[in-house]
Each structure stands twice: as C-alpha cells, then as structure tokens.
C-alpha cells in the first residue's frame, strides 16, 4: 500500500526511541506534517518544539550533538535546508552529528505551490564535504535508512516525500548505504532515479520494453556519497544514461552523475527533472505538466534514445 516516506520515518523513529536513548527530535511547528509527532507522543522529554525558528533549531541541535546527543531536526525541506548557511557552519563545519530531515520535497507536494516545495535542497547539501544525503524510494527503504542514520556518526540529510509511494522492495530488502540499488536489469540504457519518481521510472522502462528498448533502472538512495564505481560501470555497459528526480536538474542527482561521467566515462546523458519554479496543482497534474509521470518519462527517454 502506498505510504509517504515521512510517515515511514515517523513510525521508525518512534520505535528507535526505545533502543536509542541518545536520539532527540526537534521540530519547527510542523510536527504533524513531518510526522515527528509520533516520536513526540512516546518520548515527550526528548522532543523539542522550537516554534517557527529554523535557524535556531539548527544551532540548538548542533549544540545538543556536540554534547553527545543524536538529534533529528524536522521541517519542510525548503524551510530547513533554506537556512543553509547555518547548516554549513553549525552542523557541517562543526562536525555535529545531526540528521536534517526535510519532508515535502519536490513538486509532488501539489496545491500549496512553489513556496513550500524543495527543488534545490540536494544541490545545496551536496556541496558540504561531510554531508551524507539519503533519499528513500519506498516505505521499507525509508525505515531502513532511519535505522541506519540513528547509528550514523556524521552530518546527514534525509529527504522525504509528502505523497504516498508504492512499494518497490520486498520484505527481504537490505539497505546498503552508499550502494546503487538495481531494480531492473537492462542493456540499452540506464536510468538513475531517486525518491518518489523511481516507481514512475520503473513503469516507464517496463513499457518501453515493448518498443524494443531494454532499459536498466537503478534506485540511488544514497546521493552522497554516490556509488561512483557503479555509475561509471553502468555507463560503460549501456552507453546511454538518463537521470530522473523531483528536484532541479542542476546540482541534484543529474548533476552528480554528470560530474562523475564527465571525468571518468564521458557518456551522452538526459537529465529529467525540474528546470523552472514549481506551481500549484494536484500532484498528478503537476507530474504530467513537468514530465515526471510514467508517460512523461517514457516520452523523454524514447526521444533521447531515438
């Protein structure tokens, strides 16, 4: 059943409270949306409602981390990562063991429109040398990522969706940090996708089979550190690379893959993602509008491979 990764996060974090006494959670007046409320209900003494103060939340969490705690700080990604300079100094450069949890990523949040959509957050966070970036693509992966991050000892960014995501993985799924997750084999081209659009990319690839195109689909849950060796290998094996993300094509997954291939394995690429500001609409209509639905991805991939 489709579940939003923010819900998976909230459920898993509330469970981890019992085994991880060092975990503390901060929110900036969005705990009902980010689902940090689930942890707050079980462990109120370790939950800190900071009010609408993202700068101060980032700094206070850094101070907690420097005193031995493991803070998760939660807000809409654009609001918290938008306070980038504080993340850069107080978390990144201070080597504070804080996980920044950004929910409501991408145009798929829908009707609220651009002001609430994070479309640049991966690009910003990728520039910090010690920042781990994880974007899960379904419920199981999101929960595994939260478990991983609870024991992770470095600044991290977890990027989550507002919208429900279909299951991509079975019960036996094992999250392997920093490793590409191949969900469909293929030899004519490879699609690297991340987050909520992985499922659409997979469906597009499946339908393209009937048009004679055998396309590999790879879920990139760990954007930093990127699985560079796999990216190079897949480019060598297929000769054509497509990236799909609900984020700007500048600096996000598309940017990351292009940087690697430009240096190691020059390959023709098509980056599918956002090239303009977002707008209001239903999530479904917006994915059609911006070409991130199954048909939009299919059309762009077919055009690219012609």
């Amino acid at each position: 059943m489709a579940k939003a990764t923010r819900v998976s996060f909230g459920e898993q974090l509330a469970e981890l409270g019992a085994t991880h006494p060092e975990v503390v959670v901060f929110d900036a007046d969005l705990s009902k949306s980010t689902q940090s409320q689930l942890f707050a209900a079980k462990y109120p003494e370790r939950f800190f409602e900071m009010g609408i103060q993202e700068h101060n939340m980032i700094g206070a969490a850094a101070g907690m981390a420097l005193s031995g705690k493991k803070p998760f700080i939660c807000s809409f990604s654009t609001f918290v990562v938008g306070r980038f300079e504080v993340i850069r100094m107080s978390i990144g450069y201070s080597e504070a063991n804080v996980t920044v949890v950004g929910t409501h990523c991408g145009v798929a949040i829908g009707e609220d429109g651009y002001s609430q959509m994070a479309l640049e957050d991966i690009a910003l966070m990728r520039t910090l040398p010690n920042m781990t970036i994880i974007q899960p693509a379904d419920d199981r992966e999101a929960k595994a990522a939260v478990r991983f991050l609870a024991d992770h000892k470095s600044p991290a960014f977890l990027r989550l969706t507002r919208q429900g995501l279909e299951d991509l993985h079975g019960d036996d799924y094992e999250f392997r940090f920093g490793k590409a997750d191949v969900i469909r084999e293929g030899s004519d081209a490879v699609i690297f996708a991340t987050g909520g659009v992985v499922y659409n990319a997979l469906k597009a690839a499946e339908e393209l089979e009937s048009e004679g195109l055998n396309i590999r689909v790879v879920n990139i849950h760990t954007i930093a550190p990127l699985d560079v060796e796999y990216v190079v290998q897949a480019a060598k094996e297929t000769g054509r690379v497509i990236t799909v993300e609900d984020h700007s094509i500048i600096g996000g997954l598309g940017g990351a893959v292009a940087e690697v291939l430009g240096e190691r394995q020059p390959t023709l690429m098509k980056r599918i993602g956002m090239t303009e500001y977002g707008r209001s609409g239903t999530p479904e209509d917006l994915y059609v509008h911006f070409g991130l639905d199954k048909n939009g991805i299919k059309r762009q991939v077919a055009e690219f491979l012609k």
Partner: protein, 271 residues
C-alpha cells in the same frame, strides 16, 4: 583580583604578538574580550588539558569568533595550548584557525565566525545538560555587532522559554563594528530593557573591572528559572592607547613598530 588583571594583561601581550606574527586578524575585539575570558576560564570554567574533553566540563562558545586570539591566549594560559604554538595562528599547517574550528581544535567547542550562530549552539548544549540532569554551565560570549543578526533574537526568545538557567551569556559590548559605531550602524538600545522583556536575568557591568565581572558571573550561577545575560561594557582595543577606537583596529594587525609600542605599554601595566 590584581593577579587576574595581571594575567589578562600578559595575555594581551600574547594577543598582540600572535596578530603581528599572523599579519592579519582582529585586535580590537580580542583586547576588549580578554578580561571577560580571563575571569570565566581561570575562576569558573577552570579548563585544564585533562578536563578539556570531559563530558561534564563547563563549556564556552565564543560566538564572536573573530575574537579567537583571546580564546587561544587563555587556553594557552590554562595549559591546553603549548605557549609556543600561539605564534602559528592562521598559518596553513596550524590547528589554530583564524576563526574557531572545533574540527581542528576541539577545545574551542564549536565552529563560529559566521556571526550570530553561537548562542543557538550554546542553547543546545544547555538543553542537553538539562536533559541529562548534569550540573555543568554553558557560557556564550557574544559581540554587540553580531547581536543585530536575526538568529540571535530567535535564541533570545527561545532560551527563556526553555528555562535555561544554566546558560550564561556575556556580551562584549565594545560599541564598535566594521562600518562604524554600533549605535550608528544599527542601534541595540535600550538593550537591557529588551532582554528583560524577553525574560532574561540581566546584569550590566564594567567589562574591564575584574571584580565586577567576577561578582556578576557568581550571581549568574543561580538557577532561578531564567537564563542569564551580562552586558559587559567594554572598550575596543582596551589596554593599548592607540588601539582604543571603535573601528580603527577592528580587523588589522599591528606592524613591527606598532607591536613594539603596544607591548611597551602593556608591559608598563604589569609593573
């Protein structure tokens, strides 16, 4: 107290020597700050090499990171930095960065220098102490210029809400910033009234009177439900007559002649 004052003046000489050796840095705000740091570290924090990483140690976040020569000087006095290392300040292979970086040198506690961020970090440390029912204090030393930052006012609103009476802020109120006197650039006054309205326990003192600093910090040990704010009125460049100016010596190092003249003046204070 005369012994403390003498120590502070000896550290003023260290600061001048460091800045001259580095060829850049911030003498004005380091000299205004050193008396405050001397009292805090030698009388209250009592930092030693052994306790520098103790989880129960008292902590100090230097939010006005450009004053770091004063912090290094006092940490050298505490035996945490070998005295001879002070002259490596700002060199490419030194752990003494131009602004505090805890990754290079953990005893500075946090990375600061982008102004207005230290109080939030100190708030978080104070929250951690409350959560763990630990008795350590968290000190935050701020500048007046950086108090114009919005994030500072977020923390000023937040710390009393969380009843952080283990948090003690000392403002090095030297009345100067790069572009001019603070009250002309962006006036903070009436500062004490603003802070009291925000539910801080406020004291106002002469930030170069060692006894007054000591009395205020002693009073601020009280855990009465309110975070503590000590407005320490200071003079930028304090102790070197030609550096006592609100803007002139904010961010330039003394040349050889100025260094010699400054040290001569400071040595006279030791006798």
């Amino acid at each position: 107290m005369p012994a403390l004052q003498r120590s502070a003046n000896e550290m003023r000489i260290d600061i001048i020597r460091m800045l001259h050796a580095a060829g850049s840095g911030h003498p004005g705000g380091s000299l205004s700050l050193i008396d405050i740091l001397t009292v805090l570290f030698l009388r209250y924090i009592k930092r030693t090499k052994e306790n520098a990483q103790d989880p129960d140690r008292h902590r100090l976040v230097l939010s006005k990171g450009h004053g770091v020569p004063a912090l290094y000087a006092v940490l050298a006095r505490c035996g945490v930095i070998p005295h001879e290392d002070l002259l490596t300040l700002r060199q490419v292979d030194s752990y003494l960065q131009g602004h505090p970086h805890n990754g290079s040198f953990p005893p500075v506690e946090a990375s600061t220098g982008s102004l207005g961020q230290g109080l939030s970090i100190a708030q978080g440390m104070a929250m951690a102490a409350k959560l763990d029912r630990k008795s350590y204090k968290v000190y935050c030393v701020m500048g007046d210029g950086e108090s114009q930052e919005g994030q500072v006012w977020e923390a000023l609103l937040s710390a009393p809400h969380h009843k952080l009476d283990n948090l003690i802020v000392v403002l090095d109120y030297n009345k100067g910033q790069i572009d001019g006197p603070t009250n002309q650039i962006l006036n903070l006054e009436p500062l004490g009234d603003k802070l009291r309205a925000f539910n801080w326990d406020v004291q106002e003192i002469d930030g170069h009177d060692m006894q007054a600093i000591d009395d205020a910090v002693a009073r601020a040990q009280e855990e009465n439900g309110l975070p503590h704010f000590i407005i320490a009125n200071t003079v930028k460049g304090k102790g070197v007559s030609f550096m006592e100016h609100p803007t002139e010596w904010h961010g330039k190092a003394p040349n050889a002649v100025e260094t010699e003249a400054a040290i001569k003046e400071l040595e006279a204070l030791l006798n």
